[in-house]
Amino acid sequence: MSAGYQAVSWNRQKKLYDAVLGGSVVTYLALFVGVSFWRDPHATAETVLIRAFGTAAILLLHVVLVIGPLARLDPRLLPLLYNRRHLGVTTFLLGLAHGSLALFQFHALGDVHPLVSLLTSNTRFSSLAGFPFQQLGFAAVGILFLMAATSHDFWLNQLSPPVWKRLHMGVYVAYGLLVAHVTLGVLQDETHPLLAGLLGLGMALVLALHVAAAIRETRLDRPQDRRADASGFVDVCAADEIPENRARIVCLSGERVAVFRYDGRVSAVSNVCRHQNGPLGEGKIVDGCITCPWHGYQYLPETGASPPPFTEKVSTFDVRIVGDRVLVHPQPQPPGTRIEPAVLGA
């Protein structure tokens, strides 16, 4: 939620998150370099650094990729999602360092431009063992660059959330390219089972978590047998099934609605946060405002509008209480439309 341009809205959580991230990366690199020279004192600094940056990048990319499904499967892990884009930018920088050093070591000493050499020196696309794997890594770094360059909320607003989200789904393509880069590159020479085992394990973890989370989400989207009354209102649940200051998420007419209970009242809004489309119904009411669990964007439950000076708005829904049942009309009102909350026990 932002009233104007700010480069980065630093707060204690972001500083802590980044301190842990920076400390972990530096520790990993130092350990990798130290152990590498301990095992092979004759190794060149360039080779060790190329491997240190490369393994750090792909390790961090695995971390980035498992945070999403883990947070879907267990909301206690939502804090990891809070500053995930800094992990993504760091992954790009590590990949860039790896690629730049490799470009210097393997392509800078000839009489053609290093990038031309990278793209033309190996064209054995029909050979698995001799595949030009460096070009796969180059393409992956290019995708990660696009994502890192557009990671700020400025670009989210400029591009619109759907376009931004599609662009950032490029991380899946980048991941596929990097798995191929490692498999057809270093794993062709390094036959020790540890490296292949770690990559296989990481890949299995990423794939299993994403498929599990996607199946769970699909189940939540299945049409439920809800009957509408004569005026079109749909019985969604009993009032006491909604915890105080929390929501129940229901699927109405094919999309999700968050039905909040607070201070003896019930309001319903779109489940989709305007910022990065986080699940509002998995958040709670803080200081009278629905608070998105992803990045803390807030909305007033009766209007779906962010409190001034902020301008974000989500759709609202008509709500009725009949006996102990909560009824919601599935037709959304335009974002920001005030709907009187239904009063419990009235």
Binding site: P162, E217, P332
Partner: protein, 42 residues
């Protein structure tokens, strides 16, 4: 409903969730296959 108001700017709507499922189902087949072929090619 999606056309009536929720669709504008909503990326994490059902179509996108389906797209995620399709993308990861494809990757779950392609990546292990590529990985296995790469190891066999050594």
């Amino acid at each position: 409903m999606a056309a009536a108001g929720l669709a504008v700017g909503d990326a994490m709507t059902r179509p996108l969730r389906r797209r995620h499922l399709v993308v990861w189902a494809v990757l779950a087949v392609v990546l292990p296959l590529l990985f296995a072929l790469g190891l066999l090619a050594r």
